[in-house]
């Protein structure tokens, strides 16, 4: 016997405010978080509402998932006095450089997290002040967290240290790392 999950009051209020802001938002009922799927062009207005009107000051986590047919951006936004986050999900088309608006103008804390997603997943954040790779080398080929990533066997991080016979990765699975040639 399970009843309908009951959202905490603070999230009910958040849901009402977001619903009033316009159509296109899909809500998922969860007990401890407000899960909102929204089109990518509604992201900035909704985040503005969440931060300025609902008073959620902490952008805790920004991440992306590669679903092979599309990308999904996931944002976890918290208050400092409540354990219940608002989770925003945006679907992006699966293409070479999908674009999403950057949240740096609202939360400066998004800066490095968006750079990391650009680096590892290849999603371009428009309006980001300094969108460069952050963890990998500037000339690294490809975006390794994509499911179809193949390591480039010819890429060597330090070119002048290249040793004959140490050619790089074996062809095949993406996660094999580097091995000596047989």
């Amino acid at each position: 016997m399970e009843g309908q999950p009951v959202l905490p009051g603070i999230l009910v209020e958040a849901r009402r405010t977001l619903e009033a802001a316009g159509p296109g938002l899909e809500f998922r009922e969860l007990v401890d978080q407000l899960d909102v799927s929204l089109p990518v062009d509604r992201l900035i207005p909704c985040c503005y509402l969440i931060k300025r009107e609902l008073g959620y000051p902490l952008l805790m986590s920004v991440t992306a998932v590669d679903w092979e047919d599309s990308f999904e951006l996931v944002y976890h936004i918290y208050r400092t006095d409540s354990a219940f986050p608002i989770v925003l999900r945006c679907r992006l088309p699966r293409e070479e450089n999908p674009e999403a608006p950057s949240l740096v103008s609202l939360w400066a804390g998004a800066e490095y997290q968006e750079r990391e997603i650009y680096d590892l997943m290849g999603i371009v954040f428009t309006g980001h002040p300094d969108l460069r790779r952050i963890l990998l080398a500037d000339d690294f080929p490809g975006h390794p967290l994509r499911k179809d990533f193949q390591q480039d066997p010819d890429f060597v991080l330090v070119p002048h240290l290249r040793v004959p016979g140490y050619a790089g990765a074996r062809p095949g699975k993406a996660s094999t790392g580097r091995f000596l040639d047989e």
């Binding site: 991440t63 998932v65 400066a108 804390g109 997290q113 963890l135 390794p144």
Partner: protein
């Protein structure tokens, strides 16, 4: 690695500025962090933090390993507080697969994580004193106590750095018999030891001159930059996940959340000192209430959580440490993301050091308490 960064700063600038490359091989960077600074005299006018030298693609690696095999990877992120990493990962997997764990395991987890917080803060304040010019004396004092905690961990799980002790479903094994008396002895010694650090640093005139009103982070800016942990609390925001969303059994203990007033380097140091005292209290209460029973729930050999995603976060020693796991129903995570507090706190570094002198930048970076294993992952 970052040829472009250098090229953005012409080395012979006509306006009399000088570009200094600080790190990655420099002891004050606490690892392999690199900071390219543009100086006018001694004053920093621009800075570019560069990271990634320790990147081991932990997130990608865990996509081709089972959930259990993901635990040793978490040890290697924040290697000064591996227990916290284990706990955050275990909580995320338990949320994803809806696993119930025995009560005793919850208590053992809290004991280990809090001991680990003391050890991590020992390292933080020791190296901060080092950065401020107290060459290795406070550091060795702090290491003396960290050593005792590591002995307790070694006795429990056989490891001194990469524990893999806290697992989903509980902990890997129960504590040995001698653990509780030795731990109590450590807790009895600890307040006097913390007094000793304080005698060396808290009212030391040189330390005060180096840390007071240096690197002030206002609360609004801290929140804006997603800064968490002791840094956020030092800025005066009483945000502690152990109070805000008590995971594990934290709602059963009494402890205070220390906050700072100014948000400078000194406050960050002092918040850590007070947190160590609070952690001692928590461990003592946990030992008193420690229930009997199993330390591990029985689980299938290969865990296949149902489709879905879960985000779990804990209050790590460096800040909010979160794991976001996505399952497609298979034995390996479809996506595993780490919300690394050191990495995200570093976003605030550049605005914080602009306008300060080079020597202050080193102290400010020291007060962040970054661990490069976690920054670069």
């Amino acid at each position: 690695m970052n040829r472009e960064v250098i090229s953005t700063f012409p080395m012979d600038t006509e306006d009399g500025t000088l570009v200094v490359n600080f790190g990655p091989q420099h002891p004050s960077t606490h690892g392999v962090f690199r900071l390219v600074m543009k100086l006018e005299g001694e004053t920093i006018v621009d800075a570019v933090p560069v990271m990634g030298y320790l990147h081991r693609s932990v997130e990608k690696l865990s996509e081709s390993r089972s959930y259990l095999q993901g635990i040793p990877l978490t040890d290697r992120l924040d290697y000064m507080a591996a227990m916290s990493n284990n706990l955050a990962y275990a909580l995320a997997v338990e949320k994803l697969a809806k696993i119930e764990i025995p009560e005793r395991a919850d208590y053992l987890r809290v004991i280990m994580v809090e001991l680990n917080r003391i050890a991590s803060h020992c390292m933080a304040i020791g190296s901060l004193a080092n950065d401020a010019g107290a060459f290795y004396t406070p550091f060795i004092y702090a290491f003396r106590d960290r050593e005792k905690i590591l002995d307790l961990f070694e006795m429990t799980c056989g490891q001194r750095l990469t524990y893999s002790y806290i697992r989903f479903g509980g902990v890997s094994r129960d504590i040995p018999e001698q653990f509780v008396p030795l731990c109590r002895q450590l807790l009895d010694e600890m307040p006097a030891n913390i007094d000793e650090y304080e005698r060396m640093m808290t009212s030391n005139e040189i330390f005060l001159a180096r840390t007071r009103n240096i690197g002030i982070l206002p609360p609004e800016m801290a929140l804006d930059y997603s800064v968490t942990g002791p840094m956020l609390r030092a800025s005066g925001v009483p945000h502690d996940l152990r109070k805000v969303e008590p995971y594990s059994v934290y709602d059963r203990f009494q402890f205070k959340v220390p906050v700072g007033r100014v948000g400078d380097v000194y406050d960050r140091y002092f918040v850590r000192i007070q947190e160590m005292r609070e952690s001692v209290k928590i461990v003592r209460q946990a030992l008193d209430q420690l229930p009997g029973g199993d330390a591990r729930a029985s689980l299938p050999k290969v865990l296949r959580p149902p489709k879905g995603d879960a985000y779990a976060q804990i209050e790590g020693p460096k800040g909010v440490l979160g794991y976001y796991l996505v399952s497609d129903g298979g034995p390996m995570p479809y996506r595993s993301k780490v919300r690394a507090p050191s990495f995200i706190n570093l976003t605030a570094l550049r605005p914080m050091i602009l306008g300060y002198k080079v020597a202050d930048a080193i102290v400010i970076l020291g007060s962040f308490d970054i661990i490069l294993g976690e920054v670069d992952r």
